[in-house]
Symmetry: C2
Subunit: 329 residues, 2 copies
């Protein structure tokens, strides 16, 4: 039976065109897949397109400026309709570029979490300076995790990396303010001890914020507040760097040389560091796969997110997480 | 009566020489000051020096690798002896390049805090991209602040900025994961409300981690964990930038042009952003002034820290803080 992706075409910054192009490219290589394309009447359906795309017209769009509360008022949006198609067993997973606030909220409300009382975790993939993939979990969906929740995040992240085919024994570290076991607040100290004693994961200790792009972990477990702050600080600093480089190149050299260097650096930064540009972020902890594409993504990143979903579906990520969480220690 | 600085010459990475040079330069311009220079026998006292320097030989040094616990075993170190000289009323304030862990711990144990139950805050000055000074409070000394403590930090930070002569009505923001009042965990939400209702400060709302080098606040109030993570993330990213620039310049251009650009950028970063290089960090909340110089500092930064201490002493920072905290709302 064909597998089906519920693809929200409309929530990205750049309109539906990059999503449409990505869908076309994905289906050319994956003929056992179908795509339900959730659109509004702002998108003119082309006269020629892959027949494995089925267009589903909706009333409205979750905007990039919408917060988590908007989802209650936008039940007929492309995002919510895509989510509901999975609940109705018409699709296997959801890909959307909606803002992470409403995306996580909608996932939580409609898909519910794998275990009771679990709050979902926003878990973006990014690359370190060596080009190795890492995941930060949680990057800001859960502001009030307890230590058991952080352990669950570590287990889910480990299964995520196994399903991605990156590692069979992914290395877990805890974001903290020092490497020693005694560092941090009560939550971080307690979590350290639980992670250390947890047989289902490969725990290596604490990692500090200045080391996350160098260090040897695959999975960075973080309190949602800390996770959000570390990723935003890196994003902010790289934005400043690019702007300064541009300015400096303009001023110092009238030739193309300075700007060429600046451009190379920018590409390198974007590729290597920007969490938002690497691929997708998954909302971990839900009963169904929900993949977030960066709001400003182009065709390539939409395509990567479709491929990411396919891999996680076919490698049975959710079943593996359920198994691990049931088995206990 | 002459004012006296207890100056730990030995705890920096580069030995006592930069501290000694800074002391000489400071005393030339400030003839109403004396310096107690805490040294070990590793420092050979020069035959000619300013007679307002009095050398105090100690047994040992707090190393850059020492943690907070080391201070218990190093009672005869240059740092602890300098601190004790203030308790003995032989000096007015302390300047040291000791590692912040033992420095804050020693300040807490020997100086005690201004109000009961207060934990001191490590409060580094840094500059934003426009060159304006800011202070982050707390950058990692207190991992478990409550909302009242964060309000006290806001008040102390405001008095700090007034004593520096930067602003008479310093703008305070709270480090959080979104700008809206409802963002963050229980601590941040509660703190937001208290800051908003606090008459002794000028509160402007939340600031996100990616904006701290652009935004319009003077004082960033943070949970010590979040404060440490944001500052380390910026430091880590700027280190990476410099290394990548160097690498890129080496590879792309055999001429000096690429490296010149990289060098310019590095200087710009260091000057503009590196918390450690801007001046000093004060440990706020103690009954006496305790100023930390960056471990790798050269003469200029030691000198800046001496000038910082002089300014805070002469502008009665501690008395002003005490007055504000006593007056209540």
């Amino acid at each position: 039976m064909a597998k089906v992706i519920a693809f929200d075409f409309m929530s990205g910054d750049k309109g539906a065109e990059p999503a449409f192009q990505a869908a076309e490219q994905f289906l050319q290589k994956n003929q056992d897949y179908k795509i339900l394309a959730f659109i509004t009447n702002k998108f003119s359906i082309p006269s020629v397109y892959n027949q494995n795309i089925e267009f589903m017209e909706c009333k409205e769009i979750i905007l990039q400026t919408d917060g988590p509360m908007q989802i209650k008022r936008k039940e007929n949006s492309t995002l919510i309709k895509a989510i509901k198609s999975v609940l109705d067993k018409k699709a296997d997973f959801v890909v959307s570029a909606a803002n992470s606030g409403p995306l996580v909220a909608a996932g939580y409300i409609y898909f519910r979490t794998i275990t009771k009382d679990l709050r979902p975790a926003f878990s973006p993939l990014f690359s370190n300076i060596f080009g190795d993939k890492k995941v930060l979990i949680d990057a800001g969906a859960n502001a009030n995790p307890d230590s058991d929740t952080l352990v669950t995040y570590a287990i889910m992240g480990s299964e995520y990396f196994k399903a991605l085919g990156i590692s069979n024994r992914p290395r877990v570290k805890l974001l903290n303010i020092g490497e020693e076991e005694i560092k941090g607040n009560a939550l971080l100290k307690e979590t350290f001890i639980k992670l250390k004693n947890e047989k289902r994961i490969n725990f290596l200790g604490n990692v500090e914020a200045d080391k996350i792009l160098y260090a040897d972990e695959d999975i960075i477990v973080a309190d949602g507040i800390n996770g959000n702050i570390v990723i935003k600080a890196y994003e902010g600093s790289f934005n400043i760097v690019y702007n300064l480089m541009k300015e400096s190149a303009d001023k110092s050299f009238s030739t193309k040389i300075g700007l060429l260097l600046a451009k190379n650096m920018r590409t390198k930064f974007r590729k290597a560091f920007s969490a938002s540009d690497v691929g997708g972020a998954i909302v971990l902890g839900l009963n169904h796969l929900l993949i977030k594409v960066h709001g400003g993504s182009d065709t390539k990143y939409f395509l990567n997110s479709l491929i990411l979903g396919k891999k996680l579906l076919e490698n049975h990520l959710l079943e593996n997480i359920q198994k691990k969480l049931k088995n206990g220690k």
